[in-house]
């Protein structure tokens, strides 16, 4: 087990290096740079000298391999550098956003689990009944509906209903306060994006739970349990559900990692100052340093989440051994 953990952790480094090479060179294929963008402000006078000063300051005029070496050396010494757009340390820029994204990801995951596992299980047990059809329609709608669109509907719905019920339109806050500072305010803001993304997330997981459960319910050991006269409740809970969770855990793991940096549009709909929004801004602002840091962070989150999922497999299915 320890050997396996060590091996998986060591694998993180070549994965990160591969991502570093890719992101570094791909970003530089896009025409333009952060300095040119800064000078686009008014479309008016464009000072070539100011442009050169800016490019010199940021090291953009140096040979590309020198820039790459500086980048790798910085990461090797945990010096992530400064944002090319704001000039602030990368770590400072990411910390606040990371905690917000993490909280939304956790809340959305909890929402998804709370919806998906009971619904998926019931749907499988009641296969081809109106309950099953209802759950399937609900989950297909979740997959078909982009979460940002649902987000827009939620905001509009809140504005319209509060105006008609209470006389004043209300919408969720657009500025973040950490959970430990003001829990009510925090949850008032984040519950909506968590629901919007959690619904889509749950739709995928519901369908996965249902199909895995159907498969397990047809296994010989379930038939044996029924033949023994065990109560259906016990069969489902003790024998079927746990075994059907393996693919569900995989889906949940992948979705969780995706939520950490992939809520690009949803974050903008709710004005969440999270990693997804920062990601888009850093790419559009040609902030190479920030984009590289975010890609590395997301790769690390993906690798670690997959690792946690692999470990969970062993707990869910004792037949799995790590070597």
């Amino acid at each position: 087990m320890y050997q396996y953990v060590l091996k998986r952790l060591l694998l993180l480094f070549p994965t990160l290096l591969g991502a570093a090479v890719l992101v570094f060179f791909l970003m530089r294929l896009i025409p333009g740079d952060v300095c040119e963008l800064r000078m686009a402000g008014t479309g008016a006078y464009f000072d070539k000298e100011a442009l050169k000063i800016c490019q010199d300051e940021l090291g953009l005029n140096r040979p590309i391999l020198v820039q790459f070496w500086e980048f790798i050396r910085g990461y090797a010494t945990f010096n992530f550098g400064d944002s090319m757009y704001t000039g602030r340390p990368i770590v400072e820029e990411i910390v606040l956003r990371f905690q917000l994204s993490l909280q939304v990801a956790i809340m959305a995951t909890i929402t998804a689990i709370l919806i998906a596992i009971p619904l998926g299980t019931i749907s499988a047990i009641k296969q081809n009944t109106w309950i099953d059809y209802g759950v399937r329609a609900f989950s297909i709608a979740g997959i078909a509906m982009p979460s940002f669109w649902l987000g827009i509907l939620i905001i509009l719905g809140l504005l319209i209903t509060t105006k008609s019920w209470f006389g004043a339109a209300w919408m969720p806050p657009i500025q973040y306060r950490p959970l430990w500072e003001d829990p009510v305010y925090n949850l008032t803001m984040l519950i909506w994006p968590a629901v919007a993304t959690g619904y889509r997330y749950s739709a995928v997981a519901t369908r996965m739970t249902r199909s895995a459960m159907l498969e397990v319910l047809r296994e010989d050991y379930v038939r044996t349990a029924r033949a023994k006269g065990l109560l259906e409740k016990i069969i489902i809970r003790r024998h079927a559900l746990k075994n059907s969770l393996l693919p569900v855990v995989t889906v949940i793991g992948i979705e969780f990692a995706f939520l950490m940096g992939g809520l690009v549009v949803t974050e903008q709909v709710f004005n969440l100052n999270g990693l997804g929004k920062l990601f888009v801004e850093s790419v559009t602002n040609f902030d190479y340093n920030m984009t590289q840091a975010l890609v590395m962070l997301v790769v690390a989150v993906f690798v670690l989440t997959n690792f946690v999922v692999d470990v969970l497999y062993g707990w869910l299915d004792p037949r799995i051994h790590y070597r």
Partner: protein, 539 residues
């Protein structure tokens, strides 16, 4: 459907009436300003750094301008009037001496920076030295605005003297540029880049914190030199990239105002939803989209083809219909419509593309295309990936050109690659470009049209020495009547004879905001009048 339309129209009528009443000069001043409250407003982007001298984005002005004072500024009580400049840090607007070549400003006494140190003429001089004559390695985005300045000195701690190389009508408007924050000489001496990451001014508000990507906060400056102001306890500039969210934020009262401007549809939605709780102010906007043919590419090196391009455009009709869906409205020439140097309607109608007879204009366009050997001209319009108003105007132009037999496709690029194409690759056929200025200063603003080796922002790849001469003559001519006469010749050459580039429609600024916000007046630029000290909340 009919009922809905009637309701919408009625709601809009109410809103428009409110706008007219609240937006009219003096209307909001009728009430006594109340002190207190925090103004929350949304800003579409985050500023790159805090240094106004270096940056060009409005995203810097909206959250940062309230921390600083200026030497002179556009009058915040009538910002919609062109050329109305008043002192901010100076005591009296100076009259030029030495044949219009020397301006002597007296500086207020007792003005303090937020660290408690006194602001003197030496700080003003250090600031303008940085802007006009930046030392090596220091970027100044607008130093070209001050080509007429010979020196800036402080003979004593309360006097600043600007000596010009020649008298210039462009000097005072350039001096009032809202980016010219007055910095502390001590801080600049310590580090010329200090203001990129720090904020310390003498404006109505003191910096109270920033959350990366989220908000910048300011609190009232108790020692502000305009006594009794600001009225607000503070402000929060909230960054919100998506326009729909900014509109909803005002609707849901998470923010009271957005100072850049919304399209007509958003205004109508807010008016319909909020009725008397929303006020709208509107103004012509000192920004314009310009059709820029690439003179280095055939057949756009042929003036007949360029002339056909402009003759095909129905600006008068476009103004009527496009203004319903986009932030464009006024028909104008090279100078901001309504400015004394701008062409009036009769003068405009003599220029190609502005003729009152559209049929005649388009017939002439077809004739010219045929004569130039490209009766079925096909080309690509290069455009910026911004909806308002770029993509809308671009799509409209394609239809206009189709009317005379041209086939045009549109290539839309995000801002970075868009400018890389204009500045480096230069491989476009025809591009949309924009000119957006703060202080209305047509003498300098028309630099967009002079030769590309004389200005940094002409992307048409042409040289026109006649225009260059006229530009210099205009800028060195003290008599406004003569300036205007040269401007007409300049305009005739740029838009009609050579058609180096084409003006589309001037932008139109629409600001719907919560009616409890008082004391703020719209200006022709989203860069102006953003110190926020006259604003108060009627809550």
């Amino acid at each position: 459907m009919k009922t809905f339309a009637m309701k919408t129209a009625a709601a809009f009528a109410v809103g428009a009436a409110l706008a007219l009443s609240a937006g009219a000069p003096g209307a909001a001043q009728a009430a006594t300003p109340k002190k207190g409250g925090i103004l929350k407003y949304v800003v579409p982007a985050e500023p790159p750094s805090f240094d106004g001298h270096r940056e060009t984005s409005f995203a810097l002005i909206h959250p940062i301008a309230p921390f600083y004072s200026l030497l002179i500024r556009v009058d915040p009580s009538v910002p919609y009037k062109s050329g109305n400049f008043v002192c901010d840090l100076c005591t009296e607007m100076p009259k030029p001496t030495d044949g219009g070549k020397t301006y002597t400003f007296k500086i207020r006494r007792g003005v303090q920076f937020s660290d408690g140190t006194e602001l003197t003429a030496h700080d003003v001089v250090a600031t303008y030295q940085k802007i006009i004559f930046p030392p090596q390695g220091v970027a100044s985005a607008r130093k070209a605005f001050y080509v007429m300045v010979d020196s800036v000195t402080a003979p004593d701690p309360y006097t600043v003297v600007f000596k010009l190389k020649y008298p210039s009508g462009a000097f005072i408007p350039a001096l009032a540029n809202p980016y010219n924050f007055i910095y502390s000489k001590a801080k600049l001496d310590q580090d010329m880049h200090w203001y990129e990451a720090n904020i310390m001014g003498s404006g109505p508000f003191i910096f109270d914190g920033r959350e990366a990507g989220a908000v910048i906060r300011g609190k009232r400056n108790p020692n502000y030199f305009h006594k009794g102001k600001p009225y607000l306890d503070g402000f929060e500039a909230i960054f919100a990239k998506k326009q729909s969210l900014r509109v909803q934020a005002i609707r849901g009262d998470r923010a009271a105002i957005e100072f850049r401007g919304f399209p007509p549809k958003s205004r109508d939605d807010l008016v319909k939803a909020l009725g008397k709780d929303i006020t709208v102010q509107e103004s012509n906007w000192n920004c314009v989209l310009i059709v820029t043919p690439n003179h280095k590419k055939k057949p756009f090196d042929d003036v007949r083809v360029r002339r056909a391009l402009t003759l095909a455009i129905d600006r008068w009709g476009g103004s009527k219909y496009l203004s319903k869906i986009a932030i464009v409205k006024a028909v104008g020439g090279v100078a901001f419509p309504g400015h004394p140097l701008a062409a009036n309607k009769a003068e405009l109608q003599k220029l190609a593309g502005y003729w009152p007879d559209l049929k005649k204009s388009r017939a002439e366009a077809r004739r010219l295309l045929k004569e130039a050997g490209v009766p079925n001209l096909k080309f690509e319009l290069h455009n910026r990936g911004v909806d308002q108003p770029y993509k809308i105007v671009g799509t409209w132009l394609i239809d206009q050109w189709k009317q005379v037999g041209m086939t045009v496709t549109q290539r839309v690029q995000p801002t970075g690659p868009f400018y890389a194409t204009l500045r480096k690759k230069k491989d476009f056929d025809v591009s949309l470009d924009f000119n957006c200025q703060a202080v209305v200063n047509p003498l300098l603003d028309v630099a967009k049209f002079i030769s590309d080796d004389k200005t940094g922002n002409n992307y048409g790849n042409y040289q026109d020495r006649e225009l260059d001469k006229m530009f210099d003559a205009m800028n060195q001519e003290p008599d406004p009547k003569k300036q205007r006469a040269i401007m007409r010749k300049f305009e005739k050459r740029a838009l009609d004879e050579q058609v180096n580039a084409m003006i589309t429609l001037w932008w139109y600024r629409i600001i719907p905001y919560r009616s409890y916000v008082k004391g703020w007046y719209i200006s022709p630029s989203h860069y102006l009048n953003q110190q926020l000290e006259p604003i108060w909340l009627d809550k």
